[in-house]
Symmetry: C2
Subunit: 195 residues, 2 copies
Amino acid sequence: MKSFQRLVMSLKRLPGIGPKQAERIAIYLLRSPQTEPRQLVEALEEAKAAIQFCPQCWDFTDQSLCRTCASADRDRNLLCVVEEPQDVAAIERTRGYKGLYHVLHGALSPLDGIGPERLRVKELLDRVQRARPAEVIVATDPDTEGDATALYLRQLLQPLAIRITRIAHGVPLGGDLDYIDERTLSHAMAGRREL
Amino acid sequence: MKSFQRLVMSLKRLPGIGPKQAERIAIYLLRSPQTEPRQLVEALEEAKAAIQFCPQCWDFTDQSLCRTCASADRDRNLLCVVEEPQDVAAIERTRGYKGLYHVLHGALSPLDGIGPERLRVKELLDRVQRARPAEVIVATDPDTEGDATALYLRQLLQPLAIRITRIAHGVPLGGDLDYIDERTLSHAMAGRREL
């Protein structure tokens, strides 16, 4: 059944879904009444239509400017650089950080062919030059790619004579920012040091 | 972002997808260019339109009768009852079985409120009465639900005076038919015994 194989292939392309799970999901969707796949399709199309990138921080938003960027209560002197939109949500849950964000949408990974041009790095440089925050906090993941990205950003931003810090390695090495409990992450934010 | 939450909720309903993975998939889909989600939606809609149940064995098919049921080479005296479409594919991969199939689309599970009326049990009874195969091979999974289903089917089919067997428990207990290697499964099919 070619159309079945095509559906399985499409599902397999999603992050974290292996061939077995793709097959199970395909069978689940084929078995369920028409309303269930319809709902998924509609939710996807609606989200795709409603949500775009915030032109300032590159987080997702359904407004012309995201909530954080648009808020008058945020400290415009602090700019926290993260890899993923999930990381913004994780730091927001700590309720300890009141600055702005910049989402790179990934980390440098030469082995996977991901260079700075694949990330929102140019936008970060433009923004820092324009807005001149007092401090840029690099909150990339504490793994190889995150470390490489942090070092690259330090080199890139150093000429601008702005304070560049990285969140403290209180977060477990090799870990994933998005999975860490609020207190550890809060602590790591507070203990940030010069990069 | 309500439309984001709605997309995550829809994804979370898929089998084996937790809240974190649903979020990652949603972000992946929002980030990728329009073609990728489009492809997924099209593959899903195409599969939903093209694929239906085979009216004889209840496996999925894009024909009016599935390949196995339509084939002249299959032994119509053997009828193998399985829980899921994946199980048909698993047994087919052994290349040792030449009979027909019947897909129940689940197993009895009183705790989850799944009784015989939720499965293709009535269709099985009708079919066995009509087609009168020499033997019904019960190949439900070797777990609580699969055992309960096998015992229920024995009770149901016994009055028809047809040989009822169950595949040998060479397959590891608590396992899942779909994950077992071809040789073990082949062996279990060959070593089937009276139920």
